[in-house]
C-alpha cells in the first residue's frame, strides 16, 4: 500500500508537463474511447432489461407510467457508475496493467530512466489523468444509453405512455441530488481503478505468470474496491 501511495503521490506531484498533453490524449483514446463500445452495448442492454423487469412489477400496481423515473434513478445513481466501472476495470484496467508490466519486464522503463526521462511522469501520470477523465464520461454515456434503451422497450414496445414516461422522470430526477452524485462516484471509481491497475503493472514480476497474475489482481481488486466504495459513497451521499 505504501509503495502504491508513493507512486501515486509522485505521479500527481510531478504533474505532466503541458508538453505531455499529447500523451494524455493518447491514453484517453486507449482507455476511454476503446471502452465506448462495450460500455454503450452494456448500457443499452441493461436499460432494456430494467425496463422489462420494472414494467412487470409496476404494472401490478397500475404505476407503469413511473417506469421512466424508476429506471432513470437506478441507472444514474447506481447501475450506471458501478457497472461501467466494473467494465472499465476489466477492459481498460487489465490492459493498463499488462502494458506497464511488460514495459517494466522488457526494461523499457529502465532505459527511459537512463535517457533521463522520468517514467512516472511520462508513462504513469498521463494514464492516471486519462482514467480520471475517461471514467465519468463512460459512466454518463452508460446512463444515457441505458435510459434510451429503457424508453425503446417501455414506450415503443410495452406501450407505456410516452409523455408520462419522460415527464414523471423529469419531475423525479434531481440534477444536483442524483445526476451529480452519480458523477462523483464515477470520478472516484476512475481514480481507484487506474491507480490499482498502474500499481499492479509496476509491481509485477517480469515473467509471463507474473504479468498474468498482476492483470488478474487488477480486475479482482478494482472490482471489489468499486463495490465497497460504492456502498460507502452511497451511505455518505444519500443517507446523510
Amino acid at each position: 500500500m505504501g509503495r502504491a501511495g508513493h507512486i501515486w503521490w509522485q505521479a500527481i506531484w510531478r504533474k505532466p508537463k503541458l508538453a505531455n498533453a499529447h500523451l494524455v490524449i493518447r491514453q484517453i483514446y486507449q482507455l476511454g474511447v476503446l471502452s465506448v463500445v462495450i460500455t454503450v452495448m452494456s448500457g443499452f442492454a441493461i436499460g432494456a432489461v430494467l425496463a422489462l423487469q420494472g414494467y412487470n412489477q409496476l404494472v401490478k400496481y397500475g404505476s407503469e407510467s413511473s417506469l421512466g423515473l424508476g429506471v432513470a434513478l437506478v441507472l444514474v445513481m447506481e447501475i450506471g457508475p458501478v457497472v461501467s466501472a466494473l467494465l472499465f476495470a476489466g477492459r481498460a484496467g487489465s490492459s493498463l496493467t499488462a502494458e506497464i508490466g511488460l514495459m517494466k519486464a522488457t526494461e523499457q522503463l529502465s532505459s527511459m530512466e537512463m535517457i533521463g526521462v522520468d517514467p512516472l511522469q511520462r508513462i504513469v501520470a498521463p494514464r492516471l489523468w486519462a482514467g480520471f477523465i475517461s471514467m465519468p464520461i463512460l459512466g454518463l454515456m452508460f446512463s444515457v444509453v441505458g435510459i434510451w434503451g429503457a424508453s425503446l422497450v417501455g414506450v415503443d414496445w410495452l406501450g407505456v405512455h410516452e409523455g408520462a414516461f419522460w415527464s414523471i422522470m423529469q419531475e423525479g430526477v434531481d440534477f444536483k441530488n442524483h445526476v451529480l452524485k452519480g458523477i462523483v462516484k464515477t470520478i472516484a471509481f476512475g481514480l481507484v481503478i487506474t491507480w490499482i491497475a498502474v500499481f499492479q503493472g509496476y509491481d509485477a514480476m517480469p515473467t509471463s505468470e507474473g504479468i498474468s497474475s498482476a492483470t488478474t489482481k487488477t480486475v479482482v481488486y478494482s472490482s471489489v474496491s468499486v463495490l465497497i466504495l460504492d456502498f460507502f459513497l452511497t451511505l455518505v451521499m444519500f443517507n446523510f
Binding site: 511488460l102 526494461e107 523499457q108 529502465s110 532505459s111 527511459m112 537512463m114 535517457i115 533521463g116 526521462v117
Partner: protein, 274 residues
C-alpha cells in the same frame, strides 16, 4: 597518464539481506574498453545501474567524470546522464514508437533541435549501425540482432563519452555477433567512447577488451588484460576462463551423501530379505 572516467571505491550494495557487492573497487580509464565478467548472478547488471545512478550504494564511492554519483540531485543526474549511454540486454526499445522515433527520443528530451536537424542526426546514427533503411519499422518487426543495433543507435544518439553494454553478445547468431563486436570496436576507435562491457562470453569479450575485471561473490577476484588474466594462477579464475564444469564453483548442488540417498529407497526391501 590517461585520466580515469569511472572510479569505484569499496562499493557495498545490499539487496534484501544479500550483499551483492562487498567492497568492490575498480577503475575504468578513459577511452578504453573494459569488460566486467563473472558467473551469472554476481550482479554485473547491478553494477551498471550503480554507475548510472539508478541505484545507490550502501557505502563506498561511485565517481563518473569526477562527479560523485550518489550525491547528485535529480537535475544534476539528468545532466550527467547525457554523457552516458546504455545498451540493455533486451534492447529495450519503446514498442509503441517506430525505429526512427526511438532513436530520436533522447534527442527530443535533451535538446531543442529543429526537426530537420534532428532527422539528419537520427539518420546518421542509424547509418552507423547499418539500419538507416529500417527507420519506419516498428520494434515488433525487427529481429533480435536488428533490435539490439537500433538500441545501440539510440544509446549513442547524444554522442555520450561513456557507453555501457549489458550482455551485448547474449543470444545472437554468429553473424549478428560479428556485427556487434565490430560496432563496439569501431565506436571506441572512432569516437573514443569509454566502453564498459558486462558479459560472461569469454571469447568475444577477450577479443576486444583492453582490460578485464572478474567479479565473484561480491568482490573483484582478478583483473588484468586478457592475456595476463589467462595466465593467472587462481583456480577460480582458471575455472571461469576455461569454462571448466567443476572447480571452486561446484558442479553438484549441495545434497546429502549419494550412497545414503540411494540406500534409502532400497532399505525396505533390504529388511525383508533378511
Amino acid at each position: 597518464m590517461t585520466e580515469n572516467s569511472i572510479i569505484l571505491e569499496e562499493v557495498v550494495f545490499r539487496r534484501s539481506q544479500r550483499r551483492i557487492f562487498n567492497g568492490v573497487s575498480l577503475v575504468i580509464p578513459k577511452g578504453k574498453i573494459v569488460a566486467i565478467m563473472g558467473p551469472s548472478g554476481t550482479g554485473k547488471t547491478t553494477l551498471l545501474r550503480l554507475i548510472a545512478g539508478q541505484l545507490r550504494p550502501d557505502s563506498g564511492s561511485v565517481q563518473v567524470n569526477g562527479f560523485e554519483i550518489p550525491d547528485l540531485s535529480r537535475n544534476e543526474l539528468f545532466e550527467v546522464r547525457k554523457s552516458m549511454g546504455m545498451l540493455f540486454q533486451t534492447g529495450a526499445l519503446f514498442t509503441d514508437l517506430s525505429v526512427f522515433e526511438n532513436v530520436a527520443f533522447p534527442l527530443r528530451i535533451h535538446s531543442d533541435l529543429p526537426e530537420d536537424m534532428l532527422r539528419d542526426l537520427v539518420l546518421i546514427k542509424l547509418q552507423s549501425v547499418g539500419l538507416r533503411g529500417a527507420s519506419e519499422l516498428y520494434p515488433s518487426e525487427l529481429s533480435g540482432g536488428m533490435a539490439r543495433r537500433v538500441a545501440l543507435a539510440r544509446a549513442i544518439a547524444l554522442d555520450p563519452g561513456i557507453i555501457m553494454y549489458d550482455e551485448p553478445f547474449a543470444g545472437l547468431d554468429p553473424i549478428a555477433l560479428g556485427v556487434i563486436v565490430e560496432l563496439i570496436k569501431s565506436l571506441n576507435a572512432i569516437y573514443g567512447m569509454t566502453s564498459i562491457i558486462v558479459s560472461h562470453d569469454i571469447n568475444e569479450t577477450a577479443s576486444i577488451a583492453d582490460y578485464i575485471y572478474l567479479l565473484s561473490d561480491g568482490r573483484v577476484i582478478g583483473s588484468g588484460s586478457p592475456g595476463a588474466l589467462f595466465k593467472q594462477d587462481s583456480p577460480r579464475i582458471q575455472q571461469f576462463i576455461k569454462g571448466l564444469p567443476d572447480g571452486p564453483v561446484a558442479f553438484h548442488y549441495p545434497a546429502a551423501d549419494y550412497e545414503d540417498e540411494l540406500m534409502q529407497s532400497l532399505a525396505p526391501n533390504h529388511w525383508f530379505t533378511f
